[in-house]
Structures are given as C-alpha cells and as structure tokens.
C-alpha cells in the first residue's frame, strides 16, 4: 500500500514538473523544473532498489548536466522575453499529435492480459557491487568503447568552442 502511494506521488511529481518545464517561459525556471523531474525519477529508482542509478542520476543529470545548461542560459542572458511569439495552431497540432501517440501506445500496451509484477524495494541487481561486477566483467568492451565517445565529444567541443 505504501509503495503504491509513494509511486503515485513520485509519478505525479515527475509528470507535473515535466509539464511545468514545458510551460515555463523563463528558461531558468524550466531548468529548475527539470531538476525536480530528475529528483522524482531518482526517487523511483530508490523505490525500485536501484540505488546506484539513483545516485548517479542526481550527480550526473541534476548535478552536472543541468548546471551546464544553467550556465549556458545565464551566459546567453536568456529570459522570458526572448521567447518569440508563439504559433498557437502549430502548438495545438503538436500537442494533439503527441497526445494521440501516447494514446495509441497506451491503448495497446495496456491490453496485456497477464499482470507482470515489478520487484519493488528488494533485489540485488541495482546495488553498486553487483553492477560493478557486471560492468567490469561483462561490459568491458562497451565501457572501453565509450571512451572513444568521450574523446570524440571532447575533440568536437574543442573544435566548435574554440574561437578562431
């Protein structure tokens, strides 16, 4: 019972702040709302006993990425007024089509007759030790490969960011 209530609360928090992020005119506010979403999702991770991811999520997303966003926004000195005039019709169509996409997916996905329970609060799979073992035993190759990704991102950022 508790779990369900927490789930619902977290979900409402996530969705609500996501919508707020969309609706905010001020980019800074949007960023803040997005951080709230991330926190809610981390809450979900904890609920699912995926503690490692919960922490990483906070650190990487809320901590690093969002701060980066914030920096950029501030750097550009963007505020509400910079958002140009909206095209309501286009927005309406956007919301409608996005909504229908959600609708159609949900309709079909909810049809599964058998209930498939999700392991809540327990289970070792999300614990850091387990994950560390998996990562460095089974996933060495992708782990190493991701260094290439970072290298290229770094080189790219340098190329683009450097003033001529």
């Amino acid at each position: 019972m508790n779990t369900q209530i927490i789930f619902i609360l977290l979900s409402l928090m996530a969705i609500g702040s996501a919508v707020m992020m969309l609706a905010s005119k001020n980019p800074v506010k949007s960023i803040l709302w997005l951080i709230v979403v991330f926190f809610a999702i981390s809450g979900h991770y904890i609920l699912l006993n995926a503690q490692f991811l919960a922490v990483v999520n906070i650190i990487v997303y809320a901590g690093a990425i969002m701060v980066l966003f914030l920096f950029v926004v501030m750097l550009m000195n963007l505020n509400a007024e910079t958002e140009p005039v909206k095209n309501y019709r286009l927005q309406f169509i956007g919301v409608i089509s996005g909504g229908s996409l959600l609708l159609i997916l949900l309709t079909f996905l909810m049809r599964t007759p058998v209930a498939q329970p999700v392991q809540m609060k327990v289970g070792e799979s999300g614990l850091i030790g387990k994950l560390g073992m998996t990562l460095f035993q089974n996933y060495v190759l992708p782990f190493e490969i991701s260094s290439v990704l970072f290298l290229s991102a770094m080189v790219g950022a340098v190329i683009i960011g450097k003033r001529n």
Partner: protein
C-alpha cells in the same frame, strides 16, 4: 575487431598530431596511411579469420565474413575519399587533424555498428558515428548554413536517439530472455508480444531516421546542404551505408522470422522514401542539394534489402554500399572543385575538363543504374532480392518507376556537362585545383565502378568466403 581498435587508436593519434604538429598537409597523409592500414588489417582479418587482439568479450561482436567484407568496402571507400578529397578537408578550417581524428572515430562507430551483437553496442556505435558528425557538420564555423545544419542535425539526432532507446527498452521488456543480444530475442510463436511490436516500430522509426528514410528524412537535405561539401560526401556515403548495414543486420537477425508482421511498415517507408526522394530531387537547382535528395532516393532502393531480407539482399546491400559510395564520392569530389554548385555550373564541363566530365557522367550513370556500371548490378541484386521475397510484388514495380524518374535529375547534370555551353566566361573549374594525381584517382574510381558493373562477384565472393 582490428578495425575497431585501430580506428580508435588512429583517431587518438590524429588528435595528438593536431596538438603537436603544425604542418597542414601532414594530417592528410597520415589519414591516408590510417585508412590504408585499416583496409589492410581488416583485409587480413577477413582473409585469416583471426584478429590481432581479441576483444570480443562476452561475444558482444559478430565477426563474420560478410560484416568484414562490408567494412572492407567502407575502408576502401574511405581511402578513396581521403585521397580524392583530402585536400579539400584542409580547406574547411584550421583543425585539419582534428577533422581526420573525428572521421576515424566515426569509422570506429561504423565498425561497431556493423559488427555489433548486442543492442548496447548498436546504440554506442550509432552514437559514436553521430556525435562526431554533428561536429563535422558545423565545422565551417563562420558559415551560418553550416551552423544551422549542425544544430538541426544535432537536435533531431538527439530526438531520434531517444526514440531508438525507447525502442530498445521495449524490446528488452518484451523479451522473456531478458537479453540485449540481438540473437536472443524471444519472439514467441504467432503474433509478437505487444511490447516487442512497439519496440520494433520505434526501432524502425529511429533507424529510418539514421538512414534518412521518409518520413524521417527531413534533416537530410538541410544537413547535407549545409555541411561542408567534403563532409557531406563522407556522411552521405560511408556513414549512411553503415546505418543501413546496421539496420538490416538487426532486423534480419532479430526479427527476420516474423518479417510478415512488420513488412507493411517497410513497404510504406520504402515507397514514401522513393517518392519523396525522387520527386523532390527533380526540382532542385543546386547539384549538392539534388545529391542530398538523391541520397534519399537511393535509400529507398536500399530499403528493398530490408523488404526482401534474404541472401541476395545481403549481397545486394554490400554491392549497393560499394556502388553508391563510389559514385557519390566521385561526383562529390568533382563538385567540391566546382565554382558554382548549381546545375548551370556544370555547363560545358566536358569541354573544359574532358576527364572530369567523363567520370562525373559515369558516376551519374551509375547512380541512375545503367548497365555496365556498379549502380546497375547493385540495383539488379536489390530487385532480384525483392522479387525473390515473393510478397507485394508491386513494390518492385514502383521501385523501377522511380528509378526511371531518377534518370530525369541525374541526366540533367549529364546534359549540362556534355550538351550545353558554359554559361559564363570564367572556367567552370579552376585548373590549378585539378592536379594530375586527382585525375588519375578519378579515373580509378570510374574504372572501379565499371569493374563492379561488369564483374560484381569480386565483392560477393568475399562475402561468401
């Protein structure tokens, strides 16, 4: 596997070259050496069957002769690309070796996405391909078009990544084997589980985006147009072919047995792609943009492999990659040298530069699919594969009708090259930009196109090795 390691290493090497070496021409030769090395090492692996370092932990890579053959084609094309257009890379900006480094990273991504055996590596491979490309697209920093293309590419690419991941998530969720390995996806009997179905559709959407298939192609013309031409050449050939190869491998390995359940989507996408690519290309004035649309159109033909999904299609996709890459790299190599990118800019090319005119014509004929060129054999294999599939024969008819339409815009350029007088007094190409070695390489390109057009089994033989 040699390819993955050495392309990464060479990328790092190039990166450091940029930091420590001032010479502007050295990176080019280094890059050519690198591409040649990759070609060689990959060839050795293909020939011997064993890599130098075995990094295939947990069997996450699938090293087959077909995959390696495909990579061999990719590296050959890259080598050719470096040799033909290396000097033009130098002209884009000052970070020459960084550009090459990024290209090598892309090649690493290409190697991954053609040999992946898990969805994770597919994802990583695609990202490693994409991120450097976002950068390369924006490499011409002072050019607003290049900036714009880069941002568009990036935003939409990120969007499609989200869709790809959602698809992977649903596949994972629906897979009772709970595995990301593409050969371990449990589809059950009869109809696919709903989650897998949703996953499949999302994957199709995301991968269609990567290979610029309609209606997810919108980024293509703008990005190809805006990016520095030399990188457009690279993107539209090598990277795109890799995307296709990944696409087909995934669907053949994982969802081949239930093709009937998703073939409709492919049919829709194929036809839409051909329609939009071919019809829109007709009206373009800029050759560069026309080639962008043509790449969409050609994607439509390559999608036939996905439609067919049989042995012939496998042979076909390798051939098609080779044929399409050769021809497009060739035509872009010439386009880069042109003073005017519009079709009128090509007027009288044959008169001023007969060899360039001839090679451009052969490339365009190959793109059209005229016999004796590689373009024909590859189209032929695709059509055979599609007919062999046995379903929805009308798709094949539609395909050839569009192939006929494609003649319209390719031949406009040929007409300009051969049958029209130069529109202005200044030469269509500055003679000093066309060196002797460039001409020789172009001739080699043309000869390769013809060889593949007459005897395509050279390639297929490797794949069957």
């Amino acid at each position: 596997m040699n390819a993955i390691i050495f392309s990464a290493i060479w990328g790092v090497l190039m990166m450091f070259t940029g930091a420590f070496v001032q010479s502007k021409t050295l990176p080019k030769y280094l890059a050519i050496t690198g591409a040649a090395l990759l070609f060689l090492l990959n060839g050795i692996e293909l020939y011997n069957g064993t890599p130098i370092f075995n990094i295939n932990g947990m069997n996450m890579l699938a090293i087959t002769s077909m995959n390696l053959t495909f990579l061999e084609v990719i590296f050959a094309a890259t080598l050719l690309f470096f040799m033909l257009s290396g000097r033009d890379v130098e002209r884009v900006g000052e970070h020459v070796s960084e550009y090459f480094a990024l290209i090598f990273f892309v090649l690493c991504g290409v190697s991954l996405s053609s040999t992946y055996n898990t969805l994770l590596l597919l994802f990583l491979g695609i990202e490693i391909m994409s991120i450097p490309l976002y950068v390369l697209t924006g490499a011409d920093k002072r050019n607003l078009k290049s900036n714009e293309a880069s941002l568009k590419y990036f935003l939409m690419g990120a969007f499609s990544t989200g869709i790809l991941l959602m698809g992977i998530a649903f596949i994972y969720g629906g897979n009772t084997n709970a595995s990301f390995y593409i050969d371990q996806i449990h589809l059950g009997v009869g109809k696919m589980p709903v989650m897998i179905t949703v996953g499949v559709v999302l994957l199709i959407i995301a991968l269609s985006f990567k290979v610029s298939a309609a209606p997810f192609h919108f980024w293509t013309p703008d990005v190809y147009d805006g990016a520095p031409t030399v990188f457009t050449s690279f993107m539209s050939t090598i990277v795109k072919a890799a995307g296709f190869f990944a696409f087909i491998r995934l669907f053949k390995t994982s969802f081949g047995p239930v093709q009937g359940q998703w073939q409709n989507l492919i049919v829709f996408i194929t036809v839409a792609t051909m329609l939009i690519g071919n019809v829109t290309a007709v009206f373009q004035q800029s050759v560069k943009r026309m080639l962008a649309y043509s790449s969409i159109a050609q994607a439509g033909f390559m999608l036939l492999a996905l439609f067919a999904l049989n042995q012939t299609a496998d042979d076909g996709i390798i051939l098609y990659s080779a044929a399409y890459s050769l021809a497009t790299i060739g035509i872009f190599a010439i386009l880069i040298k042109m003073n005017d990118y519009t079709i009128e800019g090509f007027n009288g090319l044959a008169k001023q530069q007969p060899l360039l005119g001839l090679v451009a014509t052969i490339c365009l004929l190959s793109l059209t699919g005229i016999p004796l060129t590689a373009g024909f054999t590859s189209k032929f294999f695709m059509l055979t594969a599609a007919v062999e599939n046995g379903h929805k024969f009308w798709v094949v008819i539609v395909a050839v009708i569009f192939a006929a339409i494609s003649a319209y815009y390719y031949f406009r350029v040929i007409q300009a090259i051969y049958f029209k007088e130069p529109s202005s007094a200044e030469p269509v190409i500055d003679a000093e930009r066309v060196s002797g070695s460039f001409k020789i390489l172009l001739a080699i390109t043309a000869i390769l196109i013809l060889i593949l057009g007459i005897y395509p089994e050279i390639l297929i033989g490797w794949a069957h090795h």
